[in-house]
Symmetry: C2
Subunit: 187 residues, 2 copies
DNA sequence: GTTAGCATGTAAGGAGTTACATGATTTT
DNA sequence: AAAATCATGTAACTCCTTACATGCTAAC
């Protein structure tokens, strides 16, 4: 997750770790916080894999603000991570939403696959939820009933939203993915 | 999390691991799935700590259905875990909801503390979310805008729900916590 | 009799957190 | 000159998952 988020953010703009952490909590702001204890090692690892590299801007020495820039290899890795989104991306709210934040980089089929995958998952869960509610309502305390009902509402709300997104996707048709290398040549 | 959930489920009824796993996905159904690879070791550890113990019902040999029962020590541990719910319980949706599923075991002050803690957290996040949206709207692609807007709606929805729960709590006043040892003596 | 589901476990690994440690730069 | 916040990192640990390994029992 962190790796995907980092690559996606660096795709927009070169940044150093500290800045990245703030963006993770802001640009993807809704999104969860990661600690430095995972962020810096991740950057280091990505650098080792040559998915990112350091930018020594304005003669600044390293190890006092390490500005990282994504490399072509990193772009490829990012694209692969997005395209290969599996079960996690449909079953985990966070994983799904992270992908959604990077929808502009996906091709239309992948977008649809993810949206429908998530929708299917939520529909299934909604059915199970309702079944549980029906079967257990009598035996449950009022807090649990409240919780279950809220879950149902929440899931329905999410489903309407997904339907909306799918509808838009259909209407706007094949909005192409942004290129891997955005606007490489001048102006 | 798993430990809390297991103790809470065993409080209702003695169960073996396999059964527990199904209940985790059903009674707390909405709730996340845990794998056997974490469930069985957790039961083992709890048994070692004497928070749970095996029930050798009807002369059944162990190691073919291990039915676990919560002990007084386990009840105490469960109560402590609930009462000491810290930041995680207000900042993580899942952690919060798990507590809510066990609200009947808490005393009214703890319930209120948790509900208001969660509300405060969501209010703060909502403010940040709106600020981000305002500041970044122009620079965001339409998917990110959709995502942010949905987050805002979602958070508002959650806040209304929390207000509702708090209101109920006030109206129904001091619904006492269920005892640590439920209905110990007969009928 | 063979497939599906019940039932339990271990070992290795993944993906993060917390706590610790350090020091520069900016603001008050 | 003190305090805040910017900035980077490591080591130990937590909590979970995946993959593996085993065997019973019920249904078809």
């Amino acid at each position: 997750m962190l790796e995907l988020a980092v690559l996606g953010l660096l795709k927009q703009k070169a940044m150093h770790g500290y800045e990245l952490k703030k963006q993770l909590a802001e640009e993807l702001g809704f999104f969860r916080q990661f600690s430095y204890g995972s962020l810096y090692p991740t950057l280091k690892r990505l650098a080792l894999e040559e998915a990112v590299e350091m930018e020594y801007a304005r003669g600044e020495t390293p190890r006092r603000k390490n500005v990282y820039r994504i490399t072509p290899r990193g772009e490829a890795a990012f694209a692969t991570l997005l395209e290969e989104s599996g079960a996690e991306a449909t079953e985990s709210r966070e994983a799904f939403m992270l992908r959604l934040a990077f929808f502009r980089y996906m091709n239309p089929e992948t977008r649809r696959r993810l949206l429908e995958g998530r929708r299917g998952y939520l529909q299934e869960r909604l059915a199970k939820l309702r079944e549980s509610l029906k079967r257990l309502r009598e035996r449950m305390d009022s807090y649990s009933v409240q919780l279950m009902n809220h879950r149902v509402d929440d899931t329905e709300h999410d489903l309407r939203w997904l339907d909306d997104l799918l509808e838009r996707e259909r209407r706007l048709g094949a909005e192409p993915a942004l290129p891997t290398r955005p606007a490489a040549e001048g102006s």
